[in-house]
Amino acid sequence: MPSMGGLDLLRQLHVKKHLYEAIVMTGHESLQDARNAMELGAVSYVGKPVKHEELMRHVRAALEQVAVNERELAYRENLEREVRARTKELEETLRLTEFQSRRLDMRGLVADRVNEVLRRYPDKAVRVTGIE
């Protein structure tokens, strides 16, 4: 390519982080280039000239991979949504449980104080209601 090499383009695209796939076609095949292309996320590395049928085979493989990527992404997003929703539900349940528990503890605390006070005023015969 005139402005940058194919491998540089691959680096800029961050292929693995996206849904699209890359096929590298080159007129200067080398083992090192092929290895680099694969490491950078290319799905195929093809030397020119390439026959139409062979190119179509690589394109079909790339499209299949794109479909897999889309399914994986959808599954992951769904899973993350599900986990977030369940976590929120659990947190809410836990919060309510703790709250109820504190309310019960508070009633116990009130009852203790009431008993202390009533012992202080045995002759008044005051009746305390509401926390039985």
């Binding site: 309510l96 508070m106 015969a125």
Partner: protein, 118 residues
């Protein structure tokens, strides 16, 4: 918090007539506060004294009979204790009818207060 509660209950019983009744309720308000309300049917507090009952230097003797004694610094301490835990205390009262004190207890500190009391 426990001391504040004890102080308010003590007052309610002290200022109730003999064989009177004190009504206490513990209610969850929303998800962050527990309200404890203590209602007595004692002499109540005169309107011009209500605002001063939580002051440090107010003895609030005027509305009491001799046999009941004074509130002293109890309510001032109770108010300060409630503020320290991020809560509040308020009173509704009517002379001759009685008083209702409400302690607003934030639940985050409810646990702390109970631990302190134990």
């Amino acid at each position: 918090m426990s001391d504040a509660l004890g102080c308010v209950i003590d007052n309610a019983v002290k200022f109730s007539p003999d064989r009177g009744e004190v009504l206490i309720s513990v209610r969850a308000i929303g998800s962050g506060t527990i309200d404890i309300s203590i209602t007595d049917h004692g002499v109540g507090i005169a309107p011009d004294k209500v605002e001063r009952i939580f002051d440090w230097l107010t003895q609030s003797e005027d509305h009491l009979t001799r046999t009941q004694g004074g509130i002293g610094l109890g309510l001032a301490l109770a108010k300060r204790a409630m503020e320290l835990i991020g809560g509040a205390i308020e009173v509704k009262t009517e002379t001759g009818t009685g008083s209702t004190f409400v302690l607003h207890v934030p639940t985050a500190t409810g646990e702390m207060a109970i631990t302190d009391a134990s």
